[in-house]
């Protein structure tokens, strides 16, 4: 058997991957994510064109067997909304992470908390806009955009999730780490889909003794309360009126306006020579920090799948945008039915195709995991468009991160595909120094008209 993978060029930051599993006449089509960062008409039209191409030309008249949405960020799911009409009646089943399962009480709680945090950050940003301060908070703006939270009208990712829940002919399947799933029409003797993340184990979610850095959730509540207090604080500029603020952090009778404090003391603070030491707006830096935290949180909630071609044991690893917490949690995973000494290390050592996490930012590929990817056939796919304004601007996103890109090139013998141009010069198949010629399967194909880069892996 073989599998063909197509990385679609969404024209900006975004993920859209089609996997075609083929064994003679037997075929199965899996779409992993479909989104791009912006919701402009141009972005919509491009995604619609891609979806149309997939449905018309890639499915041999059949349906999409599976649609997988890794996490609720615009650049991964917007297409499901913008091309909703096209997807209609074309999808057999949707896979989502357990965190999206409405019948799972802990998931509901976490989702609610995350939404609350997002809403609060939205409120904070509105406050900043009203005060005309938003320019000073570029990170917050960027990050809220991932949730479509600064657009007018309903947030795109949230709407896309609603559509995803109803999209398939069969009910949505919510995936748990540690399970092994079937790909339609294939038995697990031929093909397995291991679920790696997001971490389920409550010990990872709540128990700090596990390891401080390996959880992504225990801070969510603290972040929310921090955001709430910041939102209140922004209201305080018009006088302390809120009931909670009257007691926070001290009883109201301790709170004084500047005029009520001895002028000599105030003079020390107001002295122009001491201007560099004032702290009037430092507290607002916390807004950006909370925004970054929220971003990591959502990235860590990514559904992570590893497809194994059983005979050759080759693995295709799709990690969404999983950050460190998610990666670390795989170390202790055991899969039902897998033999005892099968673990994440084996999986990484057998990985022949790695969909690089989070558009190759430095914080979404665990260093030691990349070092474990030692298979001689390894190919890396980076869904990044380096012309994206967020990457080209000053202090923009570092995607792909320099050193990670370098490391991936070394690990994959320069078999690295990038969404914007297919391959950089030092990774071109016709460049004799790359490792493409060592692969038994066909060379990658870059199809500019149909907006994809394609590669095939043989079992």
């Amino acid at each position: 058997m073989k599998v063909n993978i197509k990385m679609f060029q969404v024209g900006e930051l975004g993920d859209c991957f089609l996997l075609k599993f083929i064994d003679g006449e037997k075929k199965s089509h899996v779409l992993i994510d479909c989104g791009s960062f912006r919701n402009s008409n141009k972005s919509k039209e491009r995604l619609q064109k891609i979806v149309k191409h997939i449905l018309d030309n890639e499915l041999s008249g059949g349906l999409l067997d599976l649609v997988v949405a890794t996490h609720q960020h615009n650049d991964h799911v917007s297409g499901f909304l913008h091309a909703a009409d096209l997807f209609k009646d074309k999808v057999k089943q949707v896979w989502l992470p357990w965190l999206d399962d409405p019948r799972d009480p802990p998931a509901n709680k976490l989702r609610l908390k995350q939404q609350n945090l997002l809403d609060k950050m939205g409120v904070i940003y509105q406050h900043l806009q009203q005060k005309n301060l938003q320019e000073g908070f570029p990170i917050t703006k960027d990050i809220l955009d991932f949730y479509g939270a600064t657009d007018d009208g309903p947030a795109v990712p949230l709407e896309a999730m609603k559509i995803l829940r109803k999209m398939g002919k069969k009910p949505v399947k919510y995936l748990e780490p540690g399970t092994v799933e079937n790909i339609p029409r294939f038995t697990q003797k031929q093909l397995k889909a291991y679920v790696l993340g997001p971490p389920r184990n409550p010990a990872f979610l709540y128990d700090i003794t596990a390891n401080k850095d390996e959880t992504y959730d225990h801070k969510l509540e603290l972040a929310f309360s921090g955001a709430e207090k910041l939102a209140h604080a922004l209201e305080n500029k018009n006088g302390i009126t809120g009931r909670e603020e009257q007691q926070f952090p001290f009883n109201l009778h301790y709170k004084r306006s500047k005029e009520k404090i001895d002028s000599a003391f105030i003079g020390l603070y107001d002295d122009p020579r001491n201007d560099y030491r004032t702290i009037d707006s430092d507290w607002l830096n916390q807004v950006e920090r909370l925004a970054l935290y929220m971003d990591s949180y959502t990235n860590n909630s990514s559904l992570v799948l590893a497809f194994e071609l059983v005979e050759s044991q080759k693995v295709l690893l799709f990690v969404g945008d999983a950050q460190t917490g998610n990666w670390n949690s795989w170390k202790t995973l055991e899969w039902k039915g897998a033999h005892r000494d099968f673990n994440i290390r084996n999986m990484l050592q057998n990985t022949v195709l790695y969909k690089v996490g989070h558009h190759a930012s430095h914080n979404a590929s665990l260093k030691e995991a990349i070092e474990d990817m030692t298979h001689e056939d390894l190919v890396a796919l980076i869904p990044v468009d380096r012309t994206d304004g967020n990457i080209t601007k000053t202090n923009g996103w570092k995607m792909p991160a320099k050193n990670l890109y370098k490391k991936l090139k070394t690990a994959a013998k320069h078999r690295v595909l990038v969404m914007d141009v297919g391959f950089d010069d030092d990774c071109r198949p016709d460049n004799g120094t790359t490792g493409w010629s060592e692969l038994s399967a066909a060379e990658p194909e870059y199809n500019e008209d149909d907006l994809y880069i394609s590669i095939t892996v043989e079992d």
Partner: protein, 651 residues
């Protein structure tokens, strides 16, 4: 009447929440002694200005007047979480106590880093403005964080709401103030003090620099706890003298940590933690960690654990006899509580050892290179500092420290054996006679002016630190012109003539080499390509300080400390924006022969060090960690450490 030596101020010995625990409520409130100084409302004294402005709450809190009769009459305001004026008093108290440790150990006045500003029309023209007091803002922002801001010369403390679940001792939804944790205050103050002693240590040039700042701050916070006898007695009684079993004494910022994590989460448990059975256990020395752990907190914890390890070794060694006396020579304690007299004696030993260790650790700062510090350098500094002050190691401090560093896998570069003799910075016996002569002349010239500075520092009647600054700056300028021609790249001929010293060009170059600097443009390669360096690096006399100390064995030490640095700025190519420095700390003996005691250098001409630093800063080795773990960064770059990011707990 005479001015009293101390002002007594009440406060917490541990975090506020320990006052609500039956077993610790009795020991959580202590009366601290801080040096008496005249204070304005705030409190605002010579070294610190506490300004209680709470911008997010859009309000101010009335500054406390510690001279108010009622306040004086009850040794300061009673500890209270709900009264901001107590918070002001407490921040001041712990800040002063931390400062005192530094002044006592370094035996000189602490003078905060001057504020250097560039002339708007000519960026080469710089003015240095004296900064009298460090600012402390007890309620600056809403976050589970506190940080030292080197630009503002200020420490900003945050406050936040604890989670809604009951976690250990915290009240759900209660307010946690970082300015009420003595550990957090001491930690942040140590950052500020370390930055003042070694301003170049915020340049992130190798994986140990950030970790050293963190670890050192924790060492001071931890060891400061051991200066509170009632606390130690309580713990010794509880653990029957076995400090290896102790619990909360070894955790820093427990309440703060509990509020952040779910349970059992002290902010930093460098020396141990609660295991899965709920029992506290000490961290076992693991020599592999130093090679594998690069996050500043965790790497810093290795240093704390190492120093604590030395502490335990010394405590065990020095209390064996007491235990034997108490057990009729068997060394085996009877079951049950131990005798209160024994508790007192054991506690006294523990306090004394902690006090000595803390002083050795701080004093060692004077024996560190002025830049690019690593743990190995620090070990050598610790040993050299202690050797100078106490040539006969009667109590085993140095051996305990060496053992501890060894068991944590920290070995200095270029040292072949771990003996005291090879660890101490090289004595300069090998130094050319001509060079020795130069240093001898410098020592002779500077002895008197330095003694003047010492006299000023010892005048306790008023704050005369600004005078010290003026005099020191003048001395630096004098040394600069004495040693170097204008422009700072050639030896001053006049000096040579005056002292009848003759130097050939080669000798001058060699002399420069001995202090880590060069008199020509250095040549470096990076990734096989030559690095373009446009200007010949200038030499800067960074600091001159007098040292006047009395050692453990009553030995008096009079020295002159000079730091000299030189920097290269790379303006083009792939390393654009990088700064590479070299230089040295020179310790001159002002007694007897007036010779050089040691020269602790980091050569600017070292190609290896250049390459390592660039590899680290461009993230090529993977042994780095970020100021900010986000998609906005991809290597640690050439930026300085950010304390606010170092301390943020994820946000």
């Amino acid at each position: 009447m005479n001015v009293p030596p101390y002002r007594l101020l009440r406060g917490y010995s541990l975090d506020p929440a320990f006052s609500t625990r039956l077993d610790t409520m009795g020991i959580n409130e202590v009366t601290y002694k801080v040096p008496w100084e005249s204070l304005a409302a705030g409190p605002c004294g010579a070294y610190f200005e506490v300004i209680d402005y709470d911008p997010p709450s859009n309000c101010w809190y009335e500054p406390v007047d510690l001279n108010h009769t009622y306040v004086l009459a009850q040794n300061g305001l009673p500890p209270s979480e709900g009264n901001p004026q107590f918070h002001q008093q407490f921040v001041y108290t712990i800040a002063m106590r931390t400062l005192v440790q530094f002044e006592r150990s370094l035996s000189r006045k602490i003078i905060w880093n001057p504020r250097v500003t560039e002339d708007e029309s000519d960026p080469r023209k710089k003015t240095a403005e004296y900064v009298r007091a460090l600012r402390l803002y007890p309620h600056a922002y809403r976050a589970s964080n506190a940080y030292y801001d080197p630009e503002k010369r200020a420490v900003l403390f945050g406050y936040f709401e604890a989670g809604s679940k009951v976690r250990e001792m915290n009240m759900p939804g209660g307010v946690i103030f970082t300015c009420l944790s003595p550990d957090i205050i001491a930690h942040e103050l140590t950052h500020a003090l370390l930055d003042t002693v070694h301003p170049r240590f915020i340049e992130n040039t190798n994986p140990d620099v950030a970790a050293f700042h963190e670890g050192f701050a924790d060492i001071v916070a931890l060891m400061q706890r051991f200066t509170i006898p009632s606390l130690i007695e309580h713990q010794i009684a509880q653990t029957r003298g076995n400090l290896r079993d102790f619990s909360f004494l070894g955790e820093l910022a427990t309440q703060f940590g509990n509020a952040l994590e779910n349970n059992h989460g002290a902010l930093r448990s460098a020396i141990g933690k609660i295991n899965s059975e709920g029992k506290w256990e000490r961290m076992i020395p693991d020599p592999s960690l130093y090679k594998t752990e690069f996050k500043p907190h965790k790497r810093g914890a290795i240093l704390v654990a190492t120093i604590f390890d030395a502490f335990l070794r010394l405590y065990t060694l020095q209390t064996e006899d007491l235990i034997r006396i108490a057990t009729n020579g068997t060394g085996v304690l009877q079951p049950g509580a131990i005798h209160p007299d024994l508790v007192k004696r054991l506690a006294r030993e523990a306090c004394e050892i902690a006090d000595h260790l803390l002083h050795i650790c701080i004093r060692a700062l004077d024996y560190c290179p002025p830049l690019d510090i690593n743990y190995g350098d620090y070990l050598r500094a610790v040993i050299s500092a202690d050797l100078d002050i106490s040539p006969v190691d009667t109590n085993g401090y140095r051996v305990a420290l060496i053992e501890a560093f060894r068991s944590w896998g920290i070995f200095p570069e270029t040292v072949t054996t771990l003996s005291v003799e090879s660890l101490r910075w090289e004595k300069t016996d090998q130094l050319d006679e001509v060079f020795k002569n130069i240093w001898n002349k410098i020592a002779q010239t500077f002895r008197e002016p330095l003694r003047e500075i010492i006299d000023i520092s010892q005048d306790e009647s008023r704050d005369r630190r600004e005078e010290i600054v003026v005099k020191s700056v003048a001395l630096q300028a004098r040394l600069h012109t004495m040693l170097l021609e204008k422009g700072g790249s050639r030896f001053n001929e006049e000096f040579l003539k005056r002292y009848d010293v003759r130097l050939t060009d080669e000798q001058w170059s060699a002399f420069m080499e001995t202090i880590g600097v060069i008199d020509k443009k250095p040549e470096f390669k990076y990734n096989g390509k030559p690095v373009e360096i446009t200007t010949k690096p200038k030499i800067e006399i960074h600091k001159i300080r007098p040292v006047f100390r009395v050692g453990r064995e009553g030995r008096i030490l009079e020295q002159m400390l000079i730091t000299i640095t030189q920097k290269i700025e790379i303006e083009t190519g792939e390393l654009k924006g990088a700064t590479f420095r070299g230089g040295s700390t020179i310790i001159l003996n002002l007694q007897n022969q007036m010779n050089v005691d040691c020269i602790i250098y980091k050569r600017i001409s070292s190609a290896g060090r250049f390459e390592r630093q660039m590899d680290f800063q461009t993230g090529s080795q993977g042994n780095f960690s970020f100021n900010d773990d986000s998609m906005y960064e991809d290597d640690c770059g050439f930026v300085n450490l950010s304390f606010s990011h170092l301390h943020s707990n994820g946000f």
